[in-house]
């Protein structure tokens, strides 16, 4: 069972890895027939990687773009979500439950439906083709989950800790800085990881906001090559791009799996 699960999760990825290391000739042999393909399959090459890294704009450019958007989104969202989550944690009664319900509904909402309205706004305010501005809608889309996660983390802290800090004369900022946020570190890490993942993967908003090729984020850049022609996609180069684009996430998921899992499960428990 475990082997089957591993196979199911990894096979498509491993196939991409294999494809990326084969020469174009091996991928689409002129003589049709699997036998010819199999015969040449052993010819490993880094040709595909060289191809995409030398492209115009080079492939690493969109990795950097995605990283910039991801980081600024994560920071901005946390900056807004921490006070909001603390306020929600302190706000009992009807206002609190209405706010929770709104956040939950927003967390469920398929954000693709917002792109047209956002695009109009972006054009009116001159925000299109601006990577940092992209963090604004991204932050809004990450906020509901982030606030719900952090709120539940605040709720889980023993309330006496904050009381003790109050009695010692710590103001709100000092309590957050010295007592609450250090204790929330695990929840902050898992929230940050989930936000970064979301931002790294987001497609429709980036697709409609960004048109300059040196600004494209990874998903858009990939899709743009993909849609250039349905029949003559350079699959080898493509697989190489997939591998390179997946590597940061691979590292993130492997290193942060404990936090990602706890973040998601915590969200589920409180949701």
């Amino acid at each position: 069972m475990r082997a089957l699960l591993l196979l199911w999760s990894l096979a498509p990825l491993l196939w991409q890895l294999r494809t990326s290391l084969q020469s174009p000739a091996a991928l689409a042999p002129p003589a049709t027939g699997a036998a010819a393909g199999a015969a040449q399959a052993a010819a490993w090459t880094l040709e595909n990687y060289q191809l995409i890294l030398a492209g115009d704009p080079p492939f690493w450019r969109c990795l950097v773009n995605s990283g910039v958007v991801g980081l600024s989104t994560t920071l901005l969202t946390l900056l807004l979500a921490i006070p909001c989550a603390y306020g929600l944690h302190r706000q009992r009664g009807r206002i609190g439950s209405v706010a929770t319900l709104i956040l939950l509904a927003a967390a469920l909402f398929p954000t693709v439906l917002l792109f047209l309205g956002l695009l109009e706004t972006a054009r009116r305010l001159g925000l299109a083709n601006n990577l940092l501005a992209l963090s604004l809608p991204y932050s809004a889309m990450g906020l509901p989950l982030a606030v719900l996660l952090l709120r539940s983390a605040f709720d889980d802290l023993p309330p006496e800790l904050e009381d003790a800090a109050k009695l010692e004369g710590l103001d709100l900022w000092q309590r957050l800085r010295h007592v609450l946020l250090p204790l929330l570190a695990p929840a902050l890490i898992s929230t940050a990881l989930l936000l970064f993942l979301f931002s790294w993967n987001e497609y429709p908003i980036a697709l409609t906001w960004l048109s300059r090729s040196e600004l494209l984020t990874l998903p858009v850049a990939m899709a743009r090559i993909g849609s250039s022609s349905v029949f003559t996609i350079p699959y080898g180069a493509f697989a190489a791009a997939t591998v390179l684009g997946s590597l940061p996430l691979l590292l993130l998921v492997l290193l942060g799996q404990r936090w990602i899992v706890s973040g998601l499960t915590h969200g589920a428990i409180k949701g």
């Binding site: 699960l5 006070p83 927003a106 917002l114 998903p219 899709a223």
Partner: protein, 288 residues
């Protein structure tokens, strides 16, 4: 001295209002206007012509059917597979952390990336699946040029990507069930199936409910996968509502009608979410 809690929430709530409520209100307004290349993208009131057009738009209804078909099948499969994986991961074993991380990988990758991967895997005739078929002596098959297999391919790709998410939610649910309950049932002589049916599933219901609600909402808005894997084809047979709205706005530059399609999709989503919540309440009421 101390800030009122709602003041701390204000900045976040304002941004949420601007990004969520703003566009939806704008759609409501736009859907009463013609705003396309014909009007120079200047909104002109058109007395509900958008809604009349929607009612008679065969392509819209076809897409609605295709979207629902996609959503129901993929969410159903994700639930079944997700439950199986959650039960598997729930058992204590060596390397569970690593297995969980690997299971999570498909969910963490960008949809567009993997959609292209699937395009290569199902490629006719060079992809590995057709390679396998040819190796077994068969003829290569155009998976992405036949409507029936194309929409199934979209389901497979979606199931592959989002099952880990469902599995993880359900795993959280499983871990919230005290272990002594299961032991108590074992002592009473219940079989594994009876334990699953009478204990685990009822206690898992809130998590199942949340997973379905979330997945249903996301599946009804399916866009990335369709755009990159099939482009809505062949012959519009996999076109989804969100993709249709995108085409109206971005390709035909008909913002008025695009907004109308978005709103209609949102309405459909609300209806389904409501129906599911009511079903869930009835299911929960039936519990002993």
């Amino acid at each position: 001295m101390s800030l009122a809690p709602w003041l701390l929430m204000l900045p976040a709530l304002l941004l949420l209002a601007a990004v969520y409520a703003g566009p939806l209100l704008r759609y409501a307004w736009l859907s009463g206007h013609a705003s396309s290349v014909l009007t120079g993208l200047i909104p002109v009131p058109n007395d509900g012509a958008n809604w009349q057009r929607l009612a008679g738009d065969a392509r819209f209804w076809q897409d609605a059917f295709q979207t629902l078909r996609f959503a129901f099948l993929s969410v159903g499969l994700e639930l079944l597979l997700g439950l199986a994986i959650a039960l598997l991961l729930h058992r204590p074993m060596r390397g569970r952390g690593l297995l969980r991380a690997v299971t999570l990988l498909p969910w963490a990758l960008p949809t567009t990336l993997m959609a292209l991967g699937w395009r290569w895997i199902l490629n006719d005739p060079y992809g590995p699946v057709n390679g396998l078929i040819q190796g077994l002596g068969g003829q290569p098959y155009g998976f992405l040029s036949t409507p029936a297999t194309t929409w199934l391919a979209t389901v497979v790709a979606d199931v592959w990507k989002t099952t880990p998410f469902v599995a993880l939610l359900l795993l959280a649910g499983l871990q919230s069930i005290p272990g002594d309950l299961e032991e108590a049932m074992q002592l009473e002589g219940a079989s594994r199936w009876q334990i699953l049916r009478r204990l685990t599933l009822p206690l898992l219901l809130p998590y199942l409910g949340l997973a379905v609600l979330f997945r249903l909402a996301q599946a009804l808005g399916v866009f990335d996968l369709i755009q990159v894997l099939t482009g809505g084809g062949p012959g519009g047979s996999t076109e989804s509502l969100a993709f249709y709205a995108y085409l109206q706005a971005m390709r035909f530059l008909d913002f008025g009608y695009g907004a109308t399609v978005m709103l209609a999709t949102f309405g459909l989503l609300l209806l389904l979410a409501l129906a599911w919540l009511l079903t869930l309440r009835r299911l929960q009421g039936r519990q002993p």
